[in-house]
Symmetry: D2
Subunit: 345 residues, 4 copies
């Protein structure tokens, strides 16, 4: 039984606790907080009543070192880097659910996150935590940068196609639609019920921090820079991201090849499912699960392809994927604790 | 054209502006704010783009006296009383959308609102603004206490029945279900999207401030104290209150008399509609309108009656009723600016 | 590994499949349908992609007898009785998720369900499937009548209090609020999105079929007939039932005794949780789980008690409870496949 | 007072009745139906209680000719053409809210609507009812093809830019997100509450009928064929369409010119509003209103522009625009009955 610490008490922390309640090789031994120290976790999250007796502890290193084999860092950006710098030398493996280790380029991080990076020396060591793309590297690392929720939905459909040269690397459009839990648990007007319910709108147009993250990984996949536009929208629902991707196939490539390549790439994967021809995903079909579904529409006349992916932003888009990563890092079966379908309806 | 001031910039203020955009005898000349001074109203509420050029001004008396014939006070409790004390002597009529003048008993106010009442001498003068019950008094007053949203939905069905002695005054159950806009625009966890959407729960059980307000008015109607239990619930929708009321008829009263009495009481009213036998109201049917619908189920065997009312908490439950009141106070046709159906679906 | 059949392909069947995907002592070997014969289950319910290869088969006894150890009957009322009559003699244990065996009185069944009961001789044998009340009987039976979703939420809080004589058996009000999945998967206007979303309304006032079911069980608990009024409401959410119950304590009973009795009754139960004083349940806290939460408000002055319960209508209110029952019937650990928290947010 | 007939009793008919309740130069004298003949309109749509005493009549020409000056045809495609053929010669002006007269090319109609066009001779006479583009033609016609809801949101932002040559006519992406009322009132699984709520998904990818309609009008605006991809998505809300459009500016065109051109084109329009720089529209801001809002993001580096529009699909996307058109056709002030803001929150 591995001893696990969780740093942070927001929605991703709660989803870690939900998932780890059914994991028989990891035991959460502590949860650290800044605002809720001394409160029972099941008072914060009454859905956990009967599943945990943990009480939030102060967010400092002493509460982790010596007690944990591994730690999930579920913190606002900027805070994970400092913690990881101390935890790693103490032999504690880290999965960072925040943004600190996602961008390989510290200057880009500083531009998009308005912060000096505190541990740039760890950026090369950190492995970007998409198991379906970087499984072996994840197995061997002590530090995983868990991907952003939007990037997970954009990269998994596109990366194999760019790697194999099926798509043009220019003019890719990523139009994403997200549930509100991605905005976290702290009350603010933009996630106030009456400002969200019964409406849809875009946000962060041209400036969202997940844009450079997607571009970085697509560039790695393509072997050269990719020109891409990313626009997120807020949808009145709790969970789920639908990503609609528009791209052009390379001259001479048949549109149906797109389906074949993705089918082959993800055959055997438990958590990425290519839907049959003519079926497009629905976020309801992955609600609460660690699964990403991909639908493909290939327009032969126009040499266009439309890829649509659906995932649960808190699970495959955050906490589920984090557990999938830590399973790999600790040598546990990759899907442990994650093999269940979504809750529908 | 009467010159109107609005004090406050929350959802009830926004609904006043929506409704007054179509009112041809009232013109909003100023809106006062504390947090948004200097901002255009249509930047705060972009649904008003093209309908107003007003800019929020500082919340002080100088911005009202000499400019306004009447003022809507849409303020947190405690603040209206102080303002009304100054506005009334300056000849400005006031409709208070807050709670300061609803309870006739200052001690009860102090117990439920945790505040010393600043203008107890105005309590007897203030008229409780239910036009269907107090029309003549409202016509003659300079100060209206606009009813709470829950009380409006509970009192209108019950009062005529208590007045005419059809119902027992003990054991009345008022089980209300409200949309989230009743909680206002200030972000807080209890109205954070993800904490509300896809769930329902009660709140303020046994302690909600609208309890004594309902009891007061039912007592006036019955001519003696009424024993009543009020429980509000939060429903994942923006607007609407459904109130389910359980009461016993007096011995010897036939259950069907309930329908007759309500039908007769509200015949000719534009904003209270008794639904046909067998039809129960739906909050969607009054969405955005000033109408309250009432459905009646009379259980002959058990001498029980179930009354169900539906209203829009921001309109008949607040801003629409406030305009209805001010129309009366100013001698304008009562329904001016309010005669339109709800938006459905 | 027990071999399990499911008859029906609606939402409760889908929830059985979701839950049984994680059950290591039951294997679903067939699913029977009338409208979808020949279709893959994961085409009907794409959330199950990767979890089942089952194809819907025709709904006849030959597809069950000889293949199954036990069967879940998830059928419209009237159809289960006929099936059970044949399955039981063939040695197949049955859990009926429909209404056919819930009412002990065939005449009452015929009045509320407009059908002659086809197997009245089984009514006494059938055990009402509330494990927390009838655990031993369930262990010993071959036929369980799985309770209705509303009755589960009303009976579990009330029964122990009536049994121990704390509450008056007259004037009990059960005001329930349900998500829409309770209405099933067949499209109809009353569950058409635009007719439900952004509104709340009552339905079946005074006539809902779960009324006599609740009354029956409360009567058994009290040892005498109970006078009770049940009113359901439809809430714009997928899952969840909140039940607000109003009752009077017996003269001389202290209101706080209510908390003690329920706390003691359900201590040690995995699936019924009494919330701490001052905390009221929220359906979101049990979303997708098999747990029922109960909150208690005792009004000392008025000798009134308000009990509020929350459950997931498809899980503890249907499929989860059905599995809990079959676990007992088959001698499997009662909570097998059901021990996980709800999905929140 | 013009006498108006409405043919059809779906959601667009209901929205016509809502809007015409406040129109003092049009009076609805009859409403025709197939399924609800003999039923009161306010029994079908209780939100209209107190606003109409109309009873649905049989859907035949005799109920219109001689009684009406103008008719709104709110019918499934294929049925309007036949009716218009008879009504026009009888001197009755027609606004068709269906699809029969939108496509100028009968062959394209037949391909996308799977029907032989019954009145191809009227196709050239019919005016496409976008008043902001075709105002003078609408004034002079007796037959208006009211635009589809998606096309309204796509064409109004794009057409002026194509006409003035600012945008490339290739590679335009139109990614639309719609509320559910666009699917009409007839129950079906795709608009069943539980299949829609808490999820988002695309539909009709590559095949939706509004695709050729958008392409036709963009082609007219550009003066040559436009290569465009249209993808609609279903959002869990009643009303509203958000359209996110991706296009490239022509070489040499500065991205900021896009804002200027749209600002100038729509200055003075009551129902099209260009939002300030940096503000993107939200469908909530136009809920229930006849207004379309447009936000613009110009990416200088990439020579890309993102246009986002929001409208209410039943109002500016259907019934409101139909009234705007008929106002013009009858010589009434264009905005009569339509000058009110949206309902928010």
């Amino acid at each position: 039984m591995y001893k696990i610490g969780i740093v942070g008490d927001g929605y991703t922390a709660a989803d870690l606790l939900r998932l780890l309640a059914g994991h028989d090789e990891m035991e959460v031994v502590c949860i650290l907080s800044t605002e809720n120290v001394g409160r029972r976790v099941d008072a914060l999250y009454p859905q956990l009543t009967g599943f945990t007796d943990l009480v939030c502890e102060e967010s400092n290193l002493d509460n982790l070192i010596g007690r944990c084999d591994a730690v999930f860092l579920a913190l606002p950006h900027g805070l994970s880097a400092v913690m990881a710098m101390e935890l790693l030398p103490a032999g504690i493996k880290c999965v960072d659910l925040g943004a600190d280790f996602r961008l390989k380029n510290a200057a880009l991080y500083e531009r998009y996150y308005d912060k000096i990076h505190e541990a740039p020396e760890l950026l090369q060591e950190a492995v970007y935590g998409l198991p379906e793309l970087y499984r072996e590297k994840i197995r061997g690392t002590r530090l995983v940068a868990n991907p952003g929720c939007f990037p997970t939905g954009a990269i998994l459909p596109l990366a194999p196609l760019l790697t194999q040269g099926l798509l043009q690397a220019e003019g890719i459009i990523v139009d994403s639609k997200s549930g509100v839990s991605g905005a976290g648990r702290t009350p603010k007007q933009s996630s106030h019920f009456c400002e969200v319910n019964e409406g849809i709108h875009p946000y962060g147009v041209g400036t969202h921090r997940h844009g450079p993250e997607i571009a970085q990984e697509l560039g790695f996949a393509a072997g050269r820079p990719v020109e891409m536009l990313f626009t997120p929208h807020l949808v009145p629902m709790n969970r789920g991201i639908l990503t609609t991707i528009y791209a052009r196939v390379q001259p001479g490539v048949k549109a149906e090849a797109v389906h074949e390549v993705l089918e082959e790439k993800y055959r055997g994967e438990s958590f990425v499912k290519i839907l049959p021809d003519g079926v497009m995903p629905h976020t309801k079909w992955v609600y609460g699960s660690n699964i990403l579904q991909i639908g493909i529409y290939a327009d032969r006349e126009k040499d266009r392809v439309i890829l649509v992916s659906a995932l649960d932003n808190l699970t495959k888009g955050a906490s589920g994927q984090a557990i999938q990563n830590l399973n790999l890092m600790l040598g546990i079966t990759e899907g442990k604790g994650l093999n269940f379908p979504g809750v529908h309806p």
